[in-house]
Structures are given as C-alpha cells and as structure tokens.
Amino acid sequence: MAIKDDQGRIEVLSWNENSLYRFRFVLYALIFVLFVLFFLTIIWIQYIIRDRRQLTLLRISSLQLESIQNQLQPHFTFNVLNNIGALINRGENELGYKYLNDFSDMLRVVLASSGETNWSIGNELSFIESYLRMENLRYTDKFHHRISVSDPELYSRKTPKLMVQSFVENSIKHGLVHKDGHCRLYIEIEMQTEHTRVVVEDNGIGRKQAAEISRQGSGRGLQILKRYINVYNRNYRTRFSIKITDLNGDNGESSGTRIEILIPADLR
C-alpha cells in the first residue's frame, strides 16, 4: 500500500499478493460454468413447460375429437329417422324394420366405443358401409361405392375413430349430393411399413364448385380432426398426413376429389 506523506514523497508501507490471484483462471472457469449451467436450466425449464403444454394440447384435442366421435350428426340422424318413418307410413314395414336395425347398429357402435379415440380399420369400414347404406336410403341408391383392402392384416390396424368416415361424409355432402347422374366413391386401404394408406376418391363436383355452393366450410368434425393431427404430429415420430388432390378430366373440368390419408401404423 502506498501513502503520500506531508512532503509529497511516496512511501511504500507494505505489499501483499492476493491469495486468490493464483487461482484466477480456475475462478474464471467456474464463473463460466455457472453461467452455462444457469442458461441450460432456463432452457430445460422452458422445454418442460412446452412439453407439458404439448401434452395438455394433445389431451384436449383428443378429448375434443372423442366428443365429436361419440355422436352422429344430428342432421343425418333425423333425416334417416324421417326416411324410416316414411317407409313405415307407406306400409313397407319389413324394409323400415331392416333400416331401423342398421341404424341402431350405427348408434350402438358409436355409443359403445365412447372413451376410445382409436379403433380398428375393420370397425371403421363396417361403419362406413352402414353409413353409405343410410345415405342410399335417403338418396334412393344414388351412390355407388367400392372398398378395397390390400391385405387382411390391415383390418386390425388402428385408425382414429370415424376419421375415414368423416372424409367419406365430406365427399357425399359437398361433392356427390350436388352431382346429377352416376355418383362413384372409391375407398382404398393399402399396407405400408410405417403407415396405413387410405384413399377416398369421388367423382363429385370438386372443391372449387362445392365452395361456391356451400355457405359453410368443412364441418366442425374435420376441423377438430385436423387440429388433433397437428398436435399429434408435433409429439410423435411417425406422423399423420392428409393430401387433397383436385381431379381433372381430359377437358380440364373438375372430375372429383381424391383424399390420401397416411395413418401411423404404430397407432394404438
């Protein structure tokens, strides 16, 4: 330590080396490590929060999906009942009774599976068959369909409940109902290693014209389904994919819509 005396001379009293001076590089390293740890912790906490939010989102969207899966469209339901009523009123009791049974099966399947978000492709396809039978009752056999399944093993693979059906319903409601003449619908299920590939193709009026007719967009069911898929894809390695293609005939006019859905094969 240096002090100035009254004559202005500088006098050195004592000089000591700081005992920590020798460890200064260690200290620098320590401070650096602490900083890094601090930031890592923040990132880690953020990650946990995000992860939890993702899980909550997944839970919410799967609950929403479930709630929409556990009901039949009221509009569809009451129109079917009206048709069955018409058959009874006309005295076609046998036929009316048959359709009543079919419709009961649909209701039962939907109600009995409540609580599950996913079920087997086999269940899905038999539900679609019943659904198309009802639509053909309403629209006097307007719709012709073909379902092909490339491998019997596919029947036991899983799909979100009523996912394929809601695309089939969309095809009918927005594509085929507005079409005069022959209405065709193809459903194709194909085996892939990571995915189940589903194709729904119609020869309806196409999306462009459908948008002009319909004042409302695609139904609430499909919106919920899309949100569920978005959240699912952020959380799992094998992802869903939906591809919509507008089909065009030789003359360039719309000749229908193809929907290609990839469902993760490991869906439980």
Binding site: H75, N82, G85, A86, Y139, V177
Partner: protein
C-alpha cells in the same frame, strides 16, 4: 270454398312421398308439384302459383333460403313452411318470415294443424276480400255535379241533408249551413242520388235518411238533425214508402 294448393321441395324422395301421403289424407289440400331442387321448384311456383310451399333447407346446389330470396321477386309469394331435420336454421327461417317451421321426422298432427291454420288464414283473407269488395260497391257514391251560371259544384251525397223543389229550381241543403240553388228539377236530381240513402217525403222534398231522427204523423213533418234541426213537410203517400225502409 277453394282448396289450399301446395308445392313440396325436398331432395329426398322418401321425404317427399311421406309429405304427399300425409297431405293427401285430407281433401282440403292439393299438391300441385313435388320437386327435388330449387330451380325446378321455382319454375313450378311461377306457373302454378301455389298458396304455400313445404320447403327443406339443405338442398343440392341451391338451398332453401336461396329459394326464399328468389320468390321475393314474384308478385304472388306463397306462404313458407320449412320442413327440416335440425333446428340449427330455426332463427334464420323465422327471419325469412316463415309461416311455420316443422322438424323431421314429421309429426302428422303438427303438419295437419299447420296446414289447417294456413287454410283458415286463406279463407279469412278470401272472406275479407269479398266483404271489402261488397263494401266498396256499397260505398261507391260518386260526387254529384250541380251546375250554376258560373260553373258547377261537386257535392258528396252524404253531405246533403235534404233537397226541396221551388219551381224550376231546387234548393240543396248541405251540412255546415250551406245551400245551393240548382237549376234542375227534383225528379232529375232524385235519379242521380243513391237510392239507399235518400227518400222522397213529399212531392217537393227529398231527405237524406241518414240524418232523419223523427217522423211526426200528426203534424206530418220529419225532423233531420245535423248541427241544427231541420223540419220538412211530408205527405202521406210518400211516408209509407219511407217506413218500409226501416
């Protein structure tokens, strides 16, 4: 009395047939057309001019509200009864001034009571139109034209209290204390007056019976009242005819 004519619009054959069957059980209603889409329906409505349409809302290509919009251009707009599966459109339907809104599966009694209400409404309005026509015919009293030297007066017959003859002239007493001297004889004037309102009480006097309130057989006078009281002399032979009126 006329039947109620109906057009059915529904894209489902069974739904149309069901309505047709229920409606045909009653002879008061007749279905003039049954259509699966809006364009066909509009053509039928234009040519058949039905009293009412039974209209589904979700239809191919154009929906039920579209038809309502189209019908606004017609000079004869039928009543609208919506028949639909689900109440999601109820508010809009009511705003579109629907007569009624029925849900599928259709209840027979609901449909019938709705149609009955419509029939009643139609009959009432027909009755009203007839009565109005009748009243119009009764009330159709043209104004009378009385010439004088300068020009002419136009007088509503119901404003005339009485008319008395004096030589070749007639004096027309009008409410509010006015009177006119007219160069016409009483017989000519009488012909132009509405017979239901005027009566001759003597050779020289015609009164408006709307203002008559007293006949005195002893003095042989009749009294008319408006703002003031007027006394007219009657003669026996005309009085009888007058009495037949009351």
């Amino acid at each position: 009395m006329g039947n109620l004519t109906l057009v059915i619009i529904d894209d489902e054959l069974n739904a149309r047939q069901l309505l047709e069957e229920i409606i045909s059980e009653s002879p008061s209603f007749s279905i003039v057309a049954s259509c699966a889409d809006v364009d066909t329906a509009f053509r039928e409505i234009q040519s058949q001019r039905p009293d009412a349409v039974l209209l589904d809302i979700q239809l191919p290509k154009k929906d039920g509200f579209f038809l309502v919009e189209m019908m606004k251009t017609l000079d004869h707009i039928p009543e609208i009864i919506f028949v639909t599966a689900y109440e999601q459109y109820a508010i809009r339907a009511i705003k579109a001034a629907a007569f009624d809104y029925l849900l599928k599966p259709v209840r027979k009694d609901e449909l019938r009571s709705s149609l009955d209400k419509l029939l009643l409404k139609k009959r009432n309005s027909m009755q009203r139109a007839r009565i109005e026509n009748l009243l119009k015919g009764l009330e159709r009293r043209d104004k009378l034209r009385f010439n004088d030297r300068e020009g002419y007066h136009l007088v509503d017959p119901s404003d005339i209290l009485f008319i008395t003859a004096s030589g070749n002239y007639c004096e027309v007493e009008i409410i509010n204390g006015k009177n006119l001297l007219v160069s016409l004889n009483l017989g000519k004037i009488e012909k132009s007056l509405p017979a239901s309102m005027f009566s001759r009480v003597s050779r020289s006097c015609i009164i408006n019976t709307d203002y008559l309130f007293r006949i005195d057989r002893k003095k042989m006078t009749c009294l008319l009242k408006n703002d003031e009281i007027f006394e007219c002399v009657c003669s026996k032979s005309y009085l009888k005819a007058l009495e037949d009126k009351f």
